[in-house]
Symmetry: C2
Subunit: 238 residues, 2 copies
């Protein structure tokens, strides 16, 4: 009889503070023989691995998976297949594998591509996702300002969008969140200035981590040097 | 010298599975002498209290706060003031108070009104929020389908909205979430039918709780008897 195939667990670990993992996420993480993470840049430890490092035991196998920062479909597809093969190596031997992901695993997460690639190649693979604290909620908690209340509609835009998409969001929603805003910040700043929204907008870098930084005086910040994990929250409604 | 005023902590406890509280939320909850919850309907235990009941010690003071289900501003304002007075009773004696909230405390949460009412009356009150798993992420995890990937824009609508707001969201976003959909489900169903989106829409009742129920065959469900905590996810994009 063949080995039973292991289960792939995607565990969202929150945005930086190791205490923001859920009890369920921690339980699944600690009982799993194999733990995988997105690889860090260069030879550095990745962010997700750093967040959970203190929870891991020496005997747990750690595997880094490289997800290149590119829009090139061919390069991405190759990387996901290589990552799926790394994970399948353990699953096929009957071992469970946990993939830990910053934030939540269903919300703009690399976990999706890994899981989908694996299931296309090996339809017998079972996948379970354990939700985590996503960055808009972490940033709101850091600011001490509610993200949304009552009748407010919320629009969330990922890193890639056009000016007209942002303009539509500002007309439609009472609260607008821009994920990973670093690369487009100067253009966004101009739009917020035109709409007189700079006084109701906030940037949070690396929410809940030791390096968290809040920018609440955007009127004086037409440019900002921001890290990759930076988020902008606009309360369109006063 | 007067007592130092206690701190009010808002702790998001997730959507039903007690294991979805964060380590930080549990630590703050267990060390706090006073724990408050939204009151249940009638004399029943409220949902939030039920979720965390197993984590509480007998010596912790439990306080239920009544938040009426109404849009009447005067009734609501009176309830928030009464709740703020209940909490202030302990804070003013130097005791910390935790308010636990289903889902996340910054995301359409009653915690906001309680905290804001308190701070208007007693500006010295310190408030700290510990984020929790919100229902869109819990529902996505339950479905085993990512909420958003890559370039997808996300629109979230609370319970109250007009048909035209929903139509705009369906044009603008690749993923649309309707919170607390029970009261408007039949109207929403007709719009989804017109847009041929029923096959890409899912309803999740009480995500992650013991009573979780998934409806993924909406084409055959023009009406549904849904509980208050029901959410509808529409993947507009195939």
């Amino acid at each position: 009889m063949a080995n039973q195939v292991g289960t792939l667990y995607g565990v969202g670990i929150g945005t930086g503070d190791p205490e923001l993992i859920t009890l369920k996420g921690l339980r699944i993480l600690q009982r799993s023989p194999v733990v995988t993470f997105p690889a860090g840049v260069g030879n550095q430890q990745g962010t997700a691995e750093a967040i959970v490092a203190s929870y891991l035991r020496a005997e747990q196998i750690r595997v880094s998976i490289t997800f290149p920062y590119t829009q090139d479909e061919a390069v991405l597809s190759e990387a996901w297949q290589a990552g799926a093969a790394q994970v399948w190596h353990y699953l096929s031997q009957g071992q469970d594998v946990v993939f830990v992901s910053e934030g939540d695993v269903s919300f703009y997460s690399t976990f999706t591509y890994l899981a989908q690639t694996l299931q296309r190649q090996h339809s017998e693979v079972k996948v379970e996702t354990i939700p985590g604290i996503c960055s808009p909620l972490a940033a709101a908690a850091a600011l001490g300002i509610p993200l949304t209340i009552r009748h407010q509609k919320l629009a969330i835009l990922p890193a890639l969008y056009t000016v007209s998409e942002l303009e539509t969001a500002l007309r439609w929603a009472e609260v607008v969140v821009l994920m990973k805003v670093s690369s487009v910040y100067p253009q966004v700043w101009k739009i917020l200035e035109q709409h007189q929204l700079l006084g109701r907008s906030y940037v949070v870098e690396r929410a809940t981590s030791q390096h968290q930084k809040i920018h609440s005086d955007l009127i004086n910040c037409p440019t900002l040097e921001l890290p990759y994990f930076s988020i902008l929250i606009i309360h369109v409604e006063a």
